[in-house]
């Protein structure tokens, strides 16, 4: 009897010894975030200041919002390269609306419409992507490449390729306002993540989404409306990109179609993957994507704050993706 106890105990210790390795796989993102934070506290000047926190929150919010949408698309086994371009479309559209004669005459209606219409257009972009993928069976990477290229072009045409500056404090609140002392878009990102996480975890749509990503044929035979669910994932991703585009414009009080959301697709995919999404589908860790976005933002910030050149920062970002994919591979086994 005592012998078995000893054996059990040894087993217990052995298991405890294995915990760090095991949990690194599962909570690698969290560990990485803590390491980067610790590094910054030690090295980066003035890191522990409210100002730094606010800057990072306002920057990370857009990545997080888009990454949440991207997670849904990736969960279906797809990918959306057009998110950055869709941000540009939405971002270019908003000032045009509230600066139009109608917007000037009825400022409240103009403000509301300048939020609603761009998000609606972004949703339509998602619908376009989803239709190409699900109805015309175009591969997601190609289907979304179309808007990736043409979307930014459309945004440039709408603004004549010029920087549009504006003075519209009520709209700029979206990017500069504060709620309970923290940047508004930080709350917005958290709220969106919470709602989407609830959708994924608790609703019919979420269950179908994961089932379709996990095994589309099985899901179809079990009655899942495969096409609708997949298209919806692209539409949600498009809409969230639209919201992110508005935030970027609001932060700058200017819209520059050439720059809004530039390279956002890479950040969003990286955030989702770092957060635990699997490119073959079937998983949608929403808060993981938020965590991934935080890591990517912090790495960017760290490099910038320590005077590392932009080009080098890009290389660093790609290293994160490589590391994330590596961890993902080992997770599969």
């Amino acid at each position: 009897m005592s012998d078995t106890n000893v054996a059990a105990e040894t087993k217990q210790t052995a298991r405890e010894l294995m915990i760090p390795k095991f949990s690194f796989r599962k909570h690698g993102g969290l560990v990485a975030l803590l390491i980067i934070l610790a590094f910054n506290i030690a090295v980066t000047p003035n890191f522990l200041q409210m100002q730094t926190l606010f800057v990072n929150i306002s920057q990370v919010a857009t990545i997080a919002i888009v990454a949440v949408g991207m997670s849904l698309v990736i969960a279906t086994g797809g990918i959306d390269l057009s998110v950055g371009a869709v941000m540009a479309v939405a971002g270019a559209l908003a000032p045009i609306i509230f600066q139009s004669s109608l917007g000037v005459e009825y400022p409240v209606a103009g403000l509301v419409l300048s939020v609603l219409i761009p998000v609606l257009v972004a949703a339509l972009c998602g619908l376009f992507n989803g239709t190409l993928v699900c109805v015309l069976k175009v591969q997601p990477i190609i289907a979304t490449l179309i808007l990736f290229i043409s979307g930014r072009g459309i945004a440039m045409v709408m603004t004549n390729g010029q920087l549009q500056t504006f003075n519209m404090p009520s709209f700029s609140l979206l990017g500069t306002g504060k709620l309970l002392g923290f940047p508004f878009q930080g709350w917005l990102a958290l709220g969106i993540a919470a709602v989407v996480a609830w959708i994924v975890g608790k609703t019919l749509f979420g269950r179908y989404l994961l089932a379709i990503g996990g095994n589309e044929k099985s899901a179809h035979l079990a009655g899942a409306p495969v096409r609708k669910v997949k298209i919806a994932a692209y539409v949600i991703c498009g809409s969230l990109s639209g919201i992110a585009g508005l935030i970027v414009v609001a932060i700058n009080s200017a819209s520059d179609a050439a720059r809004i959301g530039n390279l956002m697709e890479l950040d969003a995919i990286a955030a989702a993957v770092v957060g635990g999404a699997v490119l073959s589908g079937g998983r949608a860790p929403i808060f993981g994507a938020v965590l991934g976005a935080m890591i990517i933002q912090l790495v960017k910030y760290t490099l910038l704050a320590n005077g590392v050149a932009d080009e080098v920062a890009l290389i660093a970002k790609s290293m994160i993706i490589v590391a994330a994919v590596y961890i993902q591979q080992s997770r599969k086994e």
């Binding site: 609703t203 019919l204 089932a211 996990g214 095994n215 099985s218 079990a222 899942a224 079937g282």
Partner: protein, 518 residues
């Protein structure tokens, strides 16, 4: 018989102590079209894989082209003149026809560059030998499966193949395409190339094969010239039964009239689909098990897919209870009270990363949710009750289903349908690949539900399961429901006979008793 090109003798092969081949034999003559048939698991593919160097034989001799063969990998098989056309094509659909034909053997110019002009010319010439005139510069994937298959054959021939192995070449072809394929096989034969032809479609063999080798349980049971045999004889040998017994079992036990067990739940009339099904008639009542009998490729699974709204009907009607429209998607079929346990548990059944709970309730979800929100409490309650009622062995209901044994996975999938409280459940090979214990449990679960009024359409390759389980058996041949047997009175022999008996569509109209001749 011509002089022999290939002689495999006394081949033994075991996988981890389980013997797959026991003294198997195969002899193919020069320029001969040779059929290799047998049920699933008879050892056909193992024998072919030994021939092509995929597996190493444990013992036995292989002589090819007059000398002892030393082939130890597929590449060597190819270079010594054995080409295999697999069921799943192994070509590159996005590259041009030419590239596919010359892949790995491209003609070179000085400096090592590929001589495309010569490559295209050569491809065209090779295809012309089979009367195929297509644009060789176009991507292969733009052509039909049949053309792709012919390109694969052309490639094989261009590599100076002496023996071409075709594994189920016609399973994805339509009638016209099959005709083209046959003419290619004939021209191969005329040019002295031998063909090893593996097929489940026995009627085909009589059209193009010279000899046939029959395998059963890892052994070669017969090697006979095609004109000296009959379809009945082939089937009897495949199944290991005596042809005379099957013959004398006769059709006398056919019951006539319809002893109704309950209301008609499903009726199909003249149903045809693009996949194999040509004329399928069926009637199922409440509380009965109707079996679908037939060889592989006779259209059993396709019949199930048609009823369940997976495949589009090209002809015919499906009638359910009054007022319920004909389902055109699985979702509608489920709503109409039908369930479909598919044959391929891995690729069409489980969602491997999801939990037992999520897998079990997948088909029920719409009824488990209000305004899109899943009622988790009720879900857990239902799952718990089914886990205990069906004896599903799982650590907890949130364990990923991939971690369960095959039998328990199957029980979860069965529960996925039972929990929807269907009026008709289609079971496609419900006990395949599960151990004996689980098999008996699954059968008794099904019986329990049938006694309570569930109607079941049972597809099984195990005749025992059909004969003992089904109240009636509808026999399919080449996508046509040709006859019906009624229990009590069905024996495995009568079933085999009904399956082997040759029917033509015209004969179908004739009363069954008059069909009793072979």
């Amino acid at each position: 018989m011509h002089s022999s090109l290939l002689k495999m003798h006394g081949i033994n092969k075991a996988f981890g102590g389980v013997s797959a081949l026991r003294g198997a034999e195969l002899e193919i003559g020069q320029g001969e079209v040779h059929a290799l048939i047998g049920q699933n698991g008879a050892g056909k593919s193992t024998l072919i894989k030994i021939l092509t160097g995929v597996y190493r034989r444990d013992s036995g001799t292989v002589d090819f082209n007059g000398k002892a063969s030393t082939i130890s990998n597929p590449r060597e098989a190819q270079s010594s003149g054995i080409s295999t056309i697999y069921q799943e094509l192994t070509l590159v659909p996005l590259r041009s026809v030419t590239e596919n034909i010359v892949l790995g053997y491209e003609p070179r110019r000085i400096g090592g560059l590929i001589d495309w002009k010569e490559a295209h010319r050569r491809s065209q010439e090779i295809l012309a030998r089979f009367n195929i005139d297509i644009d060789v510069k176009a991507p292969l994937g733009t052509y039909s499966t049949a053309i792709q298959q012919l390109v694969a054959i052309a490639r094989a021939v261009s590599l100076n193949a002496k023996l071409v192995i075709m594994d189920e070449p016609t399973s994805s072809l339509d009638d016209n395409e099959v005709a083209v394929l046959f003419s290619v096989v004939k021209s191969l034969k005329e040019s002295g190339v031998s063909v090893l032809y593996v097929s489940h479609f026995l009627d085909e063999l009589f059209k193009i094969c010279d000899r046939v080798t029959i395998m059963r349980d890892g052994q070669t049971v017969k090697n006979v010239a095609i004109e000296d045999t009959s379809k009945l004889d082939l089937i009897a040998n495949m199944l290991g039964r005596n042809a005379d017994d099957i013959e004398s079992a006769g059709m006398t036990e056919f019951a006539k009239g319809e002893a109704k067990t309950g209301d008609v739940i499903l009726k199909t009339k003249n149903v045809a689909t693009k996949r194999l099904l040509r004329k399928f008639d069926l009637k199922i009542h409440r509380g009965e098990i109707v079996g679908l009998g037939g060889l592989l490729g006779s259209g059993r699974t396709e019949a199930a897919r048609a009823i369940f709204g997976v495949d589009e009907l090209t002809q015919g009607e499906i009638h359910l209870a009054k007022g319920v429209p004909q389902p055109v998607t699985p979702k509608q079929a489920i709503a109409a009270g039908i369930g479909f346990l598919s044959e391929d548990r891995k690729s069409e059944g489980i969602i491997p990363d999801m939990s037992v709970r999520e897998n079990l309730t997948l088909a029920l979800l719409p009824n488990l949710s209000r305004f899109g929100h899943i009622d988790h409490a009720r879900e857990k309650e239902l799952v718990a009750s089914f886990i205990s009622a069906l004896g599903i062995k799982t650590a907890h209901m949130d364990q990923p289903i991939r971690e369960l044994s095959g039998g328990n996975q199957q029980k979860v999938l069965l529960a996925r349908w039972l929990v929807t409280n269907p009026s008709l459940l289609i079971l496609d090979e419900p006990t395949r690949g599960v151990d004996v214990g689980a098999k008996l449990e699954i059968q008794s679960i099904i019986r329990r539900y049938v006694d309570k009024g569930l109607a079941v359409l049972l597809i099984s390759s195990e005749f025992e399961e059909l004969v003992e389980g089904a109240d009636r058996i509808v026999v399919l041949q080449d996508g046509i429901s040709v006859s019906e047997l009624k229990n009590p009175g069905i024996t495995e022999d009568t079933l085999v006979r009904a399956i082997a008996h040759h029917h033509t569509p015209e004969q179908q109209a004739v009363p069954r008793q008059e069909n009793a001749h072979v």
